[in-house]
Assembly symmetry: C2
Homo-oligomer: 225 residues x 2
DNA sequence: CCTACCGATCGGTAGG
DNA sequence: CCTACCGATCGGTAGG
């Protein structure tokens, strides 16, 4: 939440609007999107109405709207801003762990931490967006699906790296294992946000630990926690 | 979807409206709620607007609205109708399995089947409703949470039954195991609805099988699938 | 169950 | 960035 590393890594997405973007305009835009992503995680992306957002930011509807071409463009911008935050808070920190088994654990751990310390007010932005948009079509849904899939794929790739390094048994299906540890983290988000269970994160961590130990080549204890 | 067993098990919920309810009125009401639950599973409970619903059913807004006192009452009625359908399609069929380990497997199996054969057009009604309402407050959110928790609790209770019967090792944490198998089924819904992965159900089933085998007292093969 | 209406809010535009 | 608007739709009501 706090660290402001890499201030200029923001993707230079092609604006359908004016080609001229001032530094101040970019800053305003980012502030709008931060508020929008927070609202979206609580009330849904469709709950981010232009009037609501303008009121919360103390600016006029049309003034705010000028930063985006249409509501769909606003939604896409919010999703991409949420992705940048996810990368900063989860993916990047996990990269500090050694490749392979350690990094798989770190990825899940930072993911759970990002939900637990409320990077977004309503829990994991992407899980909320996924369930909200999975029944629709169009570019917003596609973008949410693409980013969600790529995160799970990153988990699988790291599992494969662990197998190549000999940390995880070769016979294990990496896709299956990624499916299962991904499931545990998502379940923690669900249990925490809906049921208010604070031990959900500990449960997910324990599940991941036991699970990975059972496929680890280094195990010497049995499968029990 | 097809079977129409137990036609009169519908809960006699206290209508805040007229005390007189005709058989025809009840039938219309149920038809409204079936359409509403289907829409809600795809576009969200908040997407079930009175105008939209009236148009889809070919009746006037006020005519439809007369069946409910306010939008919130409509939402509560939709949730309870979805619960009846879930019980009919998942919980009741699972009760035909022998108590204990067999029934735990049957509960997950029927749950996955209900998503797979599209009982609701947009996948699991309750998972969509959970992520939509977890950031809100009020009676609708509470009802969704209560029903979701009770289903996971039912899984845990059945696991305990399996332990009492000696099918599952006594040292296993039933809450933890319920958390994990529940996670696998929810992940299958997520992967199927968002990513369109048809093998998600097989993955969840495989995960549950391997998982339960690892805690089963009857196991003789090793933990591999 | 209906028609006819209400104020509020939606996404979006015109013009500056 | 603003004010001032637009038609459409929202939840809801009056009166029958």
């Amino acid at each position: 939440m706090a660290q402001q590393t890499k201030p200029h890594r923001r993707a230079r997405r092609a604006s359908s609007r004016a080609g001229t973007r001032t530094a101040q305009g970019d800053k305003t835009r980012r502030e709008i999107l931060d508020v929008a992503a927070d609202i979206a995680s609580v009330e849904g992306l469709e709950g981010v109405t232009i009037g609501r957002l303008a009121q919360e930011l103390g600016m006029s509807k049309s003034g705010l709207f000028g930063h985006f071409g249409a509501k769909e463009d606003l939604q896409l911008a919010v999703v991409d801003r949420a992705k940048d935050i996810f990368v900063r808070e989860v993916a990047d920190p996990a990269m500090k762990a050694a490749p392979g088994l350690r990094r798989v654990v770190a990825m899940i751990d930072h993911w759970l931490g990002y939900v637990e310390r409320r990077v977004f007010r309503g829990g994991c932005f992407f899980m909320a967006a996924a369930l909200e948009f999975d029944g629709r079509s169009g570019p917003v849904r596609r973008r949410i699906a693409e980013l969600s899939r790529s995160w799970r794929d990153a988990l699988r790739d790291e599992i494969r790296r662990a197998q190549a390094a000999g940390d995880i048994a070769r016979h294990v299906d990496a896709d299956q294992l990624a499916f299962e540890v991904h499931a545990l983290a998502q379940e923690a988000n669900w249990a925490h946000e809906l049921l208010g269970e604070k031990d959900a994160f500990a449960r997910a961590r324990r599940g991941v630990r036991v699970h990975l130990r059972s496929v680890s080549t280094a195990r010497r204890r049995n499968h029990r926690a």
